[in-house]
């Protein structure tokens, strides 16, 4: 065939070619999404991973190459690791890139991105079936559901205020329609902030009026503030019951807001703190 004909054939042919590896038969898996990576490790398949994304902050995955932020992937980067499979959270972007990777012949498995406690078993099942680890998947699911069920859900009068803090940003309080709100409700406690959705900056009056009994904050968020006293120094905080009784709970980010395998443990910790703080 002439060169031109060959080029045309290459461009137009359906791309069902297995990506050629350097004679390595083992799995090479790239995991995109912190929750996905966590599930892979929980299933015992961590050794099959060759790379992960920036949101996969699991300590075990730290030494793996980082293919970039989940929402700004690039095709060649992922392909440079010569993966046989890419496990990608549905929240990963741009989808074009994932399609390009699939077109080259790499298997791309989407993992549900819905943020809810009930969706985690579904995620586990998706990853497990992709990795042919259904048995382990069932075990992990069972453990998760047991942990979740062990947390009492009876309503508590405790009012919990979740503070979102990032460097360079004024600290915000979580209203309705947030992951934090869902977690607080799941623990049986109440969100001190009512009447607005998403996040709002802490205002002196708003905080005092909401009278939280317990302050909830993520580990990274707490780091940006520095010390507990800095938390109480935020607008309006000093006059709250939480401050008076020094009730504050710091939880890992992924666990608290990521609806991951660690979430039941975080939920249990929240429940316990809420019960303690109950007047």
């Amino acid at each position: 065939m002439t060169l031109a004909r060959r080029f045309a054939a290459v461009l137009s042919a359906p791309l069902m070619v297995v990506f050629s590896l350097n004679a390595v038969a083992a799995d090479r898996i790239v995991s995109v999404g912190g929750d996905v990576t966590e599930i892979v490790y929980a299933l015992g398949a961590g050794d099959r991973l060759v790379a992960r994304d920036t949101t996969s902050t699991l300590p075990a995955a730290k030494n793996l190459p980082d293919v970039g932020y989940m929402r700004q992937l690039n095709a060649e980067g992922i392909l440079s690791l010569k993966p046989t499979m890419v496990l990608a959270s549905e929240l990963a972007e741009p989808s074009l890139v994932l399609r390009q990777i699939a077109d080259v012949g790499v298997k791309v498995v989407p993992v549900s991105g819905e943020a809810s406690l009930d969706n985690v078993p579904h995620k586990i099942q998706q990853v497990a079936s992709a990795l042919n680890l259904e048995k382990q998947g069932a075990a992990v699911t069972q453990k998760y559901e047991q942990q979740l069920a062990a947390v009492p859900r009876t309503p508590l009068k405790t009012k919990v205020l979740f503070i979102l803090s990032h460097g360079g940003m004024t600290p915000m309080a979580a209203g309705q329609d947030t992951a934090a709100d869902a977690i607080i409700k799941a623990s049986g406690a109440q969100n001190a902030m009512q009447g607005f959705s998403r996040y709002r900056p802490l205002s002196q009056e708003g905080v005092v009026a909401s009278a939280p009994d317990l302050v909830l904050i993520t580990r990274d968020g707490f780091k940006t503030l520095g010390t507990v006293d800095k938390v109480w120094a935020l607008p309006g905080m000093a006059l709250t019951p939480a401050a008076k009784n020094k009730q504050i709970l710091v939880v890992d980010d992924m666990a608290l807001l990521g609806f991951s395998l660690e979430t039941p443990a975080a939920l249990a910790a929240l429940r316990e703190a809420a019960e303690r703080a109950q007047r």
């Binding site: 290459v10 920036t54 980082d66 690039n74 690791l81 890139v97």
Partner: protein
């Protein structure tokens, strides 16, 4: 600053562009050199990657670089100001706003639309603002100061609205938007490349043909009129060209700053202000800069990649500053 002969500069730039293009095509996260390609059979996946992922990207960098530089040169000539740049009239702000909307607002789209949602949104935003600007330019006798003020207002408004959207967005959406607004060529593929080129290349060629008229506009509106130019019509056409170039570039690659402002400026410093050379040399210069920046963007932190707009400023800024400080006589542009 010694002036270089335009012909020589043009030839050098062409050679430089070809060299950079070949170099870029050779480099990447995936080790795919020409040597490797030559060895592998054509139906191998390696060729797939090179042809469908790397090659379009190299070409897209070239095309977007051309678009931004030519658009910047047009704006500087139109406004007779070396500090003008493609974002002056608010086109990229409009695109940013629409992209922020798509990122933050929950919407369900057909699967194919969802794939290109950001690009379509950006293009839609650019188109809307372009039509607005064009409409404004028809009323009034082609007064540019009116357009400038409108551009300032549009920029401010879009900035504010994007701020509102950032306020209600979650972390991931915020980060995604900020990455988009720093520009990236990571979604290059033949479809988008052809779509963008079908707008950028003809517009650039038309701009080159209008170089003489751009020169005459420098003498002044009235003077250009007496030399036989239809000044309002010429200005409108130039505005439209600039808008098309910026709109197409921003749609496929996000906001890549710096190239539109500095490349024409640099070229003018060395070659003089004659647009018949300024436009083509700026086009080549813009392509070279963006190719270099993008190659670095996708290899420096491989397998991740940096936003290319960040790199164009990091590379270009200090160099430009150095050039300015070196200049003995103060002549802007």
């Amino acid at each position: 600053m010694t002036k270089v002969s335009p012909r020589i500069a043009f030839s050098v730039l062409i050679v430089l562009l070809l060299a950079l293009g070949l170099g870029s095509a050779n480099l990447g996260a995936l080790r795919l050199s020409f040597h490797t390609l030559w060895e592998t059979p054509l139906d191998d996946a390696m060729w797939q990657v090179w042809l469908n992922i790397r090659l379009p990207r190299v070409l897209l960098a070239t095309v977007v670089g051309i678009a931004l530089a030519v658009s910047g040169a047009i704006m500087q000539g139109l406004f007779r100001n070396p500090l003008a740049d493609p974002t002056l009239l608010g086109i990229s702000s409009g695109a940013s706003l629409c992209v922020a909307l798509v990122i933050v607002m929950p919407m369900t789209l057909a699967p194919t639309l969802a794939l290109y949602s950001h690009m379509l949104a950006a293009f839609g935003g650019s188109l809307f603002i372009s039509l607005l600007i064009y409409g404004l330019s028809r009323g009034g006798h082609g007064s540019l100061s009116r357009l400038l003020l409108a551009g300032i207002a549009i920029n401010a408004l879009c900035f504010a609205l994007v701020g509102v959207l950032s306020y209600i967005s979650n972390d991931q959406q915020l980060r995604q938007f900020s990455l988009w607004s720093m520009g990236s060529l990571g979604q290059a593929q033949w479809g988008t490349l052809l779509a963008a080129s079908s707008l950028i290349l003809p517009a650039s060629i038309v701009a080159l043909l209008m170089a003489r008229r751009l020169n005459l506009l420098q003498l002044g509106d009235e003077e250009a009129h007496y030399l036989g130019i239809n000044v309002p019509k010429t200005k409108r056409q130039l505005l439209l060209l600039s808008a098309v170039l910026v709109g197409a570039a921003v749609a496929v690659s996000g906001v890549i700053g710096f190239i539109g402002l500095v490349i024409p400026h640099l070229v003018r410093m060395r070659l003089g202000a004659d647009h018949r050379w300024l436009l083509p040399c700026s086009a080549l210069g813009g392509a070279c800069l963006l190719l270099t920046a993008d190659t670095l963007a996708r290899t420096l932190v491989s397998p991740a990649e940096m936003p290319v707009g960040m790199l164009t400023s990091l590379i270009g800024g200090p160099y430009f500053l150095w050039l300015i400080l070196r200049q003995k006589e103060f002549s802007v542009g």
